[in-house]
Amino acid sequence: MKNMKKDKTETYRLQVSAETKNLGIVRDFIRRLAKEAGFDKEKIEQIELAVDEACTNVIKHAYRYDASKMIDLRIRIDRKKITISVIDYGGGFDLAKIKQPDISHNVKNAKAGGLGIHLMKKLMDEVQFHIEPGKKTEVRLIKFRSKP
């Protein structure tokens, strides 16, 4: 039976204040969308965690826990994939400075946000960074319905 939902492109948007107390709300929202889009349990968990990681990085590093700032999430679901953009209007960052964390050494000195970015890349099929320094940072997380 043709799944009519999968043939349409659905877009959603959620804005939350940059507070860690909102991480659960974001996860619930993303989990619901991923489930309705037809992703399986494992993929839903991966997507949920990756978005949590991206939002946590925004709160900690882009906005330094400034609760007056907003995290902007835009979600697009089409027949091939789900794309979640996590957008902030902070200072941006130098991706080259985020090294792959070496867990066996430098246990305490994991680079700021390094663990989270590393995890995002493992969980999602594609992770793109679109940075306009001083203006806007977009982390785009993509998960395909089936292996591309």
Binding site: T20, G24, R27, I103, A110, L115
Partner: protein, 117 residues
């Protein structure tokens, strides 16, 4: 609502911390406080039981990284047990099994302390 709790039980010279609920950047301070309290009492043999933990993000894993050096420099360790598949996958993706001992049961983790005494 994403709730998190830490419960503590001292079994001889081993402290077992039971985590439940959701461990993310918001609830991490609770876990940190609980661990710090154990260290403040100079108790360095710690087992963390994940039986009732439903979710963990890298913020949670960061807590272990933050405390392990102090614990091991005092001849102690933080051993992990009773992880669900979901929680274990996150540890595994970040390479933690290479640095932390992870056991199926709390009893095995506690026994390991005894066998290495």
């Amino acid at each position: 609502m994403s709730v998190f709790q830490v419960k503590r039980e001292d079994k001889g010279d081993v402290t077992v911390l039971y985590l439940s609920g959701f461990l993310d950047a918001h609830t991490v301070p609770q876990f940190e406080n609980a661990l710090q309290q154990v260290l403040d009492e100079k108790r360095y043999k710690i087992v963390v039981n994940f039986r009732d933990l439903e979710y963990i993000s890298s913020a949670g894993l960061g807590v272990f990284m933050g405390f392990i050096e102090e614990v091991r420099s005092n001849d102690g360790d933080i051993k992990l047990s009773n992880m669900s598949q979901r929680v274990y996958k996150v540890f595994d993706l970040l390479g933690f099994p290479a640095l932390f001992e992870i056991f199926e049961t709390e009893e095995e983790a506690i026994d390991k302390f005894k066998s290495t005494d």
